[in-house]
């Protein structure tokens, strides 16, 4: 069964350092989502791509976060510089269409900023 792949699974970094996460969606899925899940809370959408275009990045802290999906397939989420409050699980999801309930989630990257 096709799955959303994410790497690394775990990342520890010091504050002020740069960090990047990678996501490979299910083949053929045009829509890709990045979520942040702070411990004890539900996921919050950071950015949504339709193919290579950003359709929603209203909750992305653009002063330090960036996301790209250059060829409309895999995607990278970057944080520079990392802050202590960025410690969280970063989840990637994908879907055939923007109809959000058909999202398939990857296993996530757990980031710890020290």
């Amino acid at each position: 069964e096709a799955e959303v792949a994410q790497s690394p699974r775990y990342k520890i970094t010091e504050k002020s350092q740069a960090v990047a996460f990678w996501c490979d969606p299910i083949s053929g899925h045009a829509t890709l989502y990045w979520y942040r899940q702070i411990l004890g809370q539900g996921p919050e959408l950071l950015v949504q791509f339709q193919d290579e275009s950003v359709v929603d990045d209203s909750q992305l802290p653009k002063d330090r976060f960036s996301a790209e999906r250059l060829k409309g397939v895999d995607s990278t989420l970057k944080i520079q510089p990392a802050e202590l409050g960025d410690s969280a699980m970063y989840l990637c999801a994908s879907s055939w269409t923007p109809v959000s309930y058909e999202q398939y989630f990857g296993p996530g990257t757990r980031l710890t900023v020290t």
């Binding site: 539900g42 996921p43 959408l45 959000s100 309930y101």
Partner: protein
Amino acid sequence: AQSVTQLDSQVPVFEEAPVELRCNYSSSVSVYLFWYVQYPNQGLQLLLKYLSGSTLVKGINGFEAEFNKSQTSFHLRKPSVHISDTAEYFCAVSGPGGSEKLVFGKGTKLTVNP
């Protein structure tokens, strides 16, 4: 804008007992409603969804939920739980058409004890 309140942060139950996880939503328009399950250090998996039609929705792993428009609730139930049901459960809402972003509750940690 939609919002979701999960009324219990933790629910401990004994194996083979019934369980209900409560979810209330707030919206000025009709909504789609979902329950997701998250096992430790994994991504989210869709349990069930309500889009329209019958208010009783059946999902995977023996779970079901009932949409109650007058009480703006979408409670999740299972008549007999197993140890393997131990996980975090998230209620989520999106606007009509499903193209609006998912808004998640804070989650309910279900612990099934032997």
